[in-house]
């Protein structure tokens, strides 16, 4: 089964990447953009979707500083 894991910095955690992106936007003429947060997306195929939460907590995300969301693609033939 295909899955997508979205990982992002927890609320309140300083995200310098997001800040840098946000600061760059006005220079390109994009005004009024705020609250930019940069995370990462992990795509994978698994035979054990039940283990995804555990897999995320143990490796893909650091639960102290990051939140994650798992999105399963039921249509996949993984």
């Amino acid at each position: 089964m295909k899955a997508r894991v979205l990982i992002r910095p927890k609320e309140g955690i300083l995200d310098p990447q997001g800040k840098a992106v946000e600061r760059a936007l006005p220079a390109l003429g994009f005004e009024g953009v705020s609250g930019v947060r940069v995370g990462r997306l992990v795509e994978l195929e698994t035979e054990s979707p039940d283990e995804l939460d555990s897999l995320c907590e143990k490796l893909l995300a650091n639960p102290l500083i990051e939140d994650f969301e798992v999105e399963l693609d039921g249509a996949g033939d993984g």
Binding site: I13, L14, P16, Q17, A20, L59, N62, L64, I65
Partner: protein, 224 residues
């Protein structure tokens, strides 16, 4: 004589400097990341660098190295372990130290000499800081991009209360926005120390300071 083991991951780059520092006060050998045998090793250094390319998150993959399993057992048994820079990040990811290291507040790689203040007064006596009195200042270089020490506020309060904050950046020397100027923390027992600055780069007057040697001398129980 104390024998130090210095871990070597693919992507480590300060392993040889760490060996050179250790050899000033004892014996040292490299431990390849696939090794599991720490027999004959009295103290472990997890060095700086970019273990496994720092893929995913800094320190995240190195945590699963066979050698790290051995180090975790060594640490639980009370063995002295020092994580420097990337090594600090690895020990945090491995759960051997509290907290996490985030991107520097200023976004940039920082490389400079900083003053550290020892905070060993009420804490567990770390084998890495036996000869260093609380309030003493050490001059040691930092060089990192991901060195902002972070822990939730309640955890920071607990660490300070338990004396697990071993070193802070001196006033005006915090290079990365670390919470409460924290540069190094220990585990509850004090035998595991993580430090963002590089004591192994401060062991010879040629490079400006010998203060870093004191940590290695402390473990080897020889005068620095």
């Amino acid at each position: 004589m104390t024998t130090f083991g210095v871990l070597q991951f693919p992507g480590s780059c300060d392993d040889r400097d760490a060996v050179a520092a250790c050899e000033r006060v004892g014996d040292a050998r490299l431990i390849w990341h696939e090794e599991r045998d720490l027999a004959g090793i009295d103290a472990v250094v997890v060095p700086g660098g970019f273990s496994y390319g720092d893929y995913l998150r800094v320190g995240a993959i190195a945590r699963f190295a066979p050698a790290m399993e051995a180090v975790a057992g060594f640490a639980r048994a009370g063995g002295p372990v020092l994580g420097i820079c990337n090594g600090f990040q690895v020990l945090c990811e491995a759960g051997l130290l509290p907290g996490a290291l985030l991107h520097n507040e200023g976004l940039r790689f920082v490389c400079r000499q900083v003053d550290l203040v020892a905070e060993t007064a009420d804490g567990p006596e770390s084998p890495w800081a036996r000869g260093i009195d609380a309030g003493e200042t050490l001059s040691i270089p930092v060089k990192h991009t991901t060195g902002l020490y972070y822990a939730p506020k309640a955890e920071l309060d607990r660490l300070e209360g338990a004396g697990q904050v071993a070193f802070r950046y001196a006033a005006g020397h915090n290079p990365n926005g670390s919470a409460r100027d924290i540069a190094g923390v220990t585990n509850e027992a004090g035998n595991v120390l993580g430090l963002m600055p590089h004591p192994e780069h401060a062991v010879d007057p040629l490079t400006g300071s010998e203060d870093g040697l004191r940590l290695f001398a402390s473990v080897a129980a020889v005068p620095a």
